[in-house]
């Protein structure tokens, strides 16, 4: 999985392309840790290009969410596809990681 990071002013957008599985999950953690270390604690993960997620990917998402909140910010997800949506619902993860319809909407209310 490859990540693109774009500072959008009030937040930072990360776009991941490919599969978020046990191979790529550590990379997501590294990318988010680095972004938070650089002061980017309001993060939106654009999942439009994320074609697959498994429990390793979910674990990484939870870890990144906790790290962002511990830094005083938040991590939100947007543009999830049908496979990601299925996994979030199956695991009840959609209760703590509500998918937004677009990157712009993720921090649109605050």
């Amino acid at each position: 999985m490859n990540f693109e990071i774009v500072d959008r002013g009030g937040y930072t957008a990360l776009a991941g392309t490919g599969r978020l599985n046990m191979v790529s999950a550590p990379k997501l953690r590294d990318v988010v840790t680095e972004a938070i270390g650089q002061g980017h604690n309001r993060l939106v993960l654009d999942m439009a290009g994320t074609e697959f997620i498994d429990s390793s990917g979910l674990g990484a998402l939870v870890g990144c969410l906790k790290a962002a909140r511990q830094a005083g910010g938040d991590l939100r997800i947007a543009n999830v596809g049908s496979q990601v949506q299925m996994v979030l619902k199956l695991t009840s993860m959609d209760r703590i990681l509500t998918p937004y319809a677009s990157v712009d909407e993720a921090f649109g209310d605050d």
């Binding site: 599985n21 697959f52 674990g59 299925m86």
Partner: protein, 142 residues
Amino acid sequence: MTEFLAAGMVHGPAQPNVVDALQDEFARIWPRASEIRPEDRMQFELAVVEIASNVVQHAHATEGTVLELAVELEIRRHILLARLYEINAEPLPEVLGDGQLPPPEAEHGRGLGMVRQLVTTVTCRRQHGSNVWTLSRTPGAP
């Protein structure tokens, strides 16, 4: 047996890149089974990947051997079938659990619980020095 649609095979050292190879194999065979609903394909593939990842992360080789993973995939009109062989692996303890998932804020421990919810049957047995997982999903199952 019901109508055969596609088959796949992956075999290699039980290291993370075997999981990517497995998903590449799914990507290769799914176009031959286009009549299987996307929901069934997604849930079956996820379950197989969860078991493969579990092998890579948690299985141990017997002394003096190298742990390998072999996966056979068989897609038929009325059944999706996978056999995963943990070759040279130590015998497994009772690992299937009750299918319960940890709370949403947990970072680990979802894999096998998810598998129980994604497939119709899942078994694990000891055979000729390997642990053999067999997963099946009936297309159209909840």
